[in-house]
C-alpha cells in the first residue's frame, strides 16, 4: 500500500470512528428518552 493510500485509509477510519461514536451517543440518548417516556407518562 502506498503512503498516500495509507493516509487515506487512516482518514477513512477516523471518519468512521467519529460517526460510530456519534451513533452510540444517539443510541444512549434515544433509549434514555424511551425510559423517561415510561417513567414520566
Amino acid at each position: 500500500m502506498t503512503e498516500k493510500n495509507s493516509c487515506a485509509t487512516e482518514d477513512q477510519r477516523a471518519a468512521d470512528r467519529k460517526v460510530r461514536k456519534q451513533d452510540y451517543m444517539v443510541i444512549g440518548l434515544g433509549l434514555l428518552l424511551l425510559i423517561l417516556s415510561k417513567v414520566l407518562a
Partner: protein, 357 residues
C-alpha cells in the same frame, strides 16, 4: 458551517465539550421555544397564512435560526453548542420508533425498498454519467454522487476519506446538498398540494426526493403528521442502504485504479459504515409492537421526539450561512441540482402512479 460539521472530531474530554456547548445549546432551546410559540400565535391569529404557508414549528425553527445567523450573527462562544443537529435529529428518529409497529414497517414492503434502492443507485449512476460534461475531480463527483443519493451530510462524510476527497470538496458537497434541501423544504409541500399527493405519497416522495435526513423529516412534518411518519420510514430505508451506496461510489471512483479497488475489503467496509443507531430505532419499534408502551407513554415519547426535532431544526437554521452557499460556486451546484431534480421528478411519478400508498 460545513467545515464545522466535518471537523467535529476533536479530542476534547466529554466534560469540556459539554461545558463549551452549553451557551450555544441555550440559544438553540430559545429558538425552539420561540418557534413553538410562534406556531400557536400564527395559527390563532393568522389562520389563512398558517394554512397557505404551512408555517409550523419545523419551518419556523429553521427560519428563525437562519434569520439570527444571517442578520445579527452568532458569537463564537455559542458555536460549539450549535453542531449537534445530527445527534438531535437522529435521537428524534430513535424515539419516533414508538410510533411504528413491525406491521407498519412491513406494510412499506419490498416494493418500496426496491424503489428506494433503484432511486439511490440510479442517482449515483446518473451523477457519474453527467459529470463527464463538467469540470470536476473524481473525488468531488464521488462526494456529490453519494451525498445526493443517500442522506446528505452523513454520506458525504462517509465517502470523502474513501475517495481521497479534500476537505473543501466535502464542504462544497455539503453546502450544495443543503441549498438543494432548503429550496426543496420550502417548495415541495406546495408542490405536494399542487399534485394532490396524499399524506403517505408525500412522505414517500420527500423520503427519497430530498437528501438531508433532517430536511426530509422537516418537509414531511410541514405537510402533516402522517407524511412525517412516512418520510421517516423511507428515510430509514435509505439509511440502511448507505454503506452499500458508498461502496458503489468508491468502486466507481477507483475503477481506473484497480490496485486500490482491489485493496478494499468489501464486507469490512460495509460493517464499518453501517449506521448502528438504527438498532435503537428497531428496539423502539419492537417494544411498541410487543405492547410495552401504553397510549400515554407513546404520547410522552411523541413530545420528546417533537422537541428533539425542533432543537435539531433550530440548530440547522443557526448554522446555515448564506455566504457558504454563495461560496459553493457554480458547476457542482448545477450538476447537483440537475441530478436532484431528475431524482425528485422520478420519485414523484413513482409515488403518484405506481406505488400502492
Amino acid at each position: 458551517m460545513a467545515q464545522t460539521q466535518i471537523s467535529q472530531a476533536q479530542s476534547q474530554s466529554l466534560s469540556t465539550q459539554i461545558a463549551k456547548a452549553i451557551p450555544g445549546l441555550i440559544l438553540v432551546v430559545l429558538v425552539a421555544i420561540a418557534a413553538t410559540w410562534a406556531e400557536g400565535y400564527i395559527k390563532g391569529n393568522f389562520k389563512k397564512v398558517y394554512e397557505i404557508a404551512h408555517l409550523n414549528y419545523v419551518l419556523l425553527a429553521i427560519i428563525f435560526g437562519m434569520l439570527i445567523r444571517n442578520t445579527v450573527g452568532v458569537p463564537s462562544v455559542l458555536e460549539p453548542g450549535l453542531k449537534y443537529s445530527t445527534i438531535l435529529t437522529k435521537t428524534g428518529i430513535v424515539v419516533m420508533g414508538t410510533k411504528y409497529t413491525l406491521a407498519s414497517l412491513v406494510k412499506v414492503g419490498t416494493t418500496s425498498m426496491i424503489f428506494i434502492a433503484v432511486t439511490l443507485f440510479g442517482t449515483v449512476a446518473l451523477m457519474f454519467w453527467l459529470r463527464k460534461r463538467y469540470e470536476m475531480t473524481d473525488s468531488l463527483a464521488g462526494c456529490l454522487a453519494s451525498g445526493f443519493a443517500v442522506c446528505g451530510v452523513s454520506a458525504t462524510v462517509a465517502t470523502g476519506p474513501a475517495v481521497k476527497a479534500k476537505g473543501q470538496e466535502m464542504c462544497y458537497t455539503i453546502a450544495t446538498i443543503l441549498i438543494f434541501g432548503l429550496l426543496a423544504l420550502f417548495t415541495f409541500p406546495a408542490l405536494g398540494h399542487l399534485f394532490g399527493l396524499t399524506q403517505n405519497q408525500f412522505g414517500a416522495w420527500v423520503g427519497v426526493g430530498i437528501v438531508n435526513s433532517a430536511q426530509v423529516l422537516a418537509a414531511g412534518m410541514a405537510y402533516g403528521d402522517e407524511a412525517g411518519l412516512m418520510a421517516g420510514i423511507y428515510n430509514m430505508g435509505r439509511v440502511v442502504l448507505l454503506p452499500f451506496v458508498v461502496l458503489y461510489v468508491v468502486m466507481l471512483v477507483l475503477k481506473n485504479d484497480s490496485k486500490s479497488a482491489g485493496e478494499i475489503n468489501k464486507t469490512q467496509f460495509v460493517m464499518d459504515k453501517f449506521p448502528v443507531f438504527i438498532i435503537a430505532f428497531l428496539i423502539a419499534v419492537l417494544a411498541n409492537t410487543a405492547g410495552l408502551f401504553s397510549k400515554e407513554e407513546v404520547k410522552m415519547a411523541n413530545t420528546f421526539m417533537t422537541w428533539a426535532f425542533t432543537l435539531g431544526f433550530a440548530s440547522i437554521g443557526l448554522t446555515t450561512k448564506f455566504s457558504d452557499m454563495k461560496a459553493a460556486g457554480k458547476d457542482g451546484i448545477v450538476l447537483g441540482f440537475i441530478v436532484g431534480f431528475i431524482k425528485a421528478a422520478f420519485a414523484l411519478v413513482v409515488v403518484k402512479f405506481i406505488l400502492p400508498l
